[in-house]
Symmetry: C2
Subunit: 242 residues, 2 copies
């Protein structure tokens, strides 16, 4: 997206592990543009964030079941566990606020099923990219949006959603796959680009923008630029152009 098409670094495909690099990318997010003024009411925030995390878990568990080998299966269990922990934590927050988790998530069913449908990949590799890209963007987004919750709760939710989604396991699997079959790279890069649009759309629909009011694009722009920059770094860790 914001990254030049000429920046592809094919050499990454040969590097088996990029753990250090990946965690450094995490720390880039310290100076976050806050989205606090556009945070919806608590119930909507938690319901949507929880349902989306449930969707990430489902994609990750599809990554377990659909793995072409036991190594990939095992790798994806870490990712599934991470998303389940986040989901359980959000469900706790919903209960703590005195609401029923299922009823709180229900209103977002239609939108999120549609999101789930459009972000399901054609094979295991695309599904791994789906988890990697959507979890990365959505966790980043909801951490920023947590700035508008009450201070203590906002901190708790941000801490809950901040750990990456088991990223290094996905990176290892995808780098290995691209190493074996370099032609996979362009297909996955293309898929990654398609995912960004759908993911930012579902994220955007969480913003509290008064009806019949155009959202303040000038205020939103730096946030989305930052989200996309973090996404580009994640794609870069795969040796793929964002």
């Amino acid at each position: 997206m914001v990254v030049s098409l000429f920046r592809r670094r094919k050499d990454h495909a040969e590097i088996p592990r990029l753990r250090t690099r990946v965690s450094r990318a995490d720390n880039d997010n310290v100076n976050r543009v806050a989205l606090g003024e556009l945070t919806p009411d608590l119930k909507s925030y938690l319901g949507r964030a929880a349902y989306l995390q449930l969707t990430i878990f489902q994609a990750a568990s599809l990554g377990v079941s659909g793995a072409p080998h036991l190594r990939g299966m095992h790798a994806m269990t870490w990712v599934a566990q991470r998303s389940l922990e986040k989901y359980a934590g959000l469900v706790d927050e919903i209960a703590r606020a005195g609401h029923d988790p299922v009823l709180t998530m229900e209103p977002f069913r239609h939108d999120i099923l549609e999101f789930q449908r459009t972000t399901r990949g054609a094979d295991w590799f695309e599904n791994l990219v789906s988890v990697y890209v959507t979890a990365g963007l959505l966790d980043d987004f909801f951490v920023r949006l947590a700035g508008g919750l009450s201070e203590e709760r906002g901190k708790r939710v941000a801490a809950l959603l901040s750990p990456d989604a088991g990223r290094s396991h996905i990176v290892d699997e995808l780098l290995a796959a691209i190493g074996e079959n370099p032609r996979l790279a362009s297909r996955l890069a293309l898929w990654g680009r398609r995912l960004v649009g759908d993911t930012l759309l579902v994220a955007r629909s969480a913003l509290a923008v008064p009806e019949d009011t155009a959202p303040d694009e000038a205020r939103l722009e730096p946030v989305f630029t930052e989200l996309i920059a973090a996404h580009a770094r994640r794609m870069d860790a795969l040796g793929l152009t964002a």
Copy 2:
């Protein structure tokens, strides 16, 4: 199996929650017949137990994705989480023993894929019964078999596998489904009976019986009788005949 066909208690189908009853059934297992003399070497024990737990997780996550409503989806996340925790604990034990988890599980791939194939239900309700029945029997079995591991490790593994697999959530969902459609009961009872055979077979193949030697049926019988009795109590909690 050992339970009279005339014992069906249809009245259970009308009781929405049986939590107390279910947890009482758990405690029935205190006097366990040990299987310690037939425990295979540590690596085989852990590899097979971990892989089977991974299979239970996959069935549970299919229960999340395939749920006909958000309530069922949410319920099955608890079950998925429980099995993932057990899996992660077994993987820890494998690593602690100095082995690679994936290589340790690999030898059991063929048998377990076959088990997975035969225990996959035709719909969501059968899949819930699959998780309920297979997790119940296998956890019970591997807890007993842990008696033959070194004492400290055996205790640790037994403690890891002893918590039920999120049973009450499955019971609630199935009782609700049978309440809405009582004809479901006989189909699920039939499915449950089929599962027992396949599950005891995969359990049995874990026993260290010297080749060309018939297993000592007299010694095995009390163990399997006990496993089946615990299974019958679990089916009873669903109002179904074992």
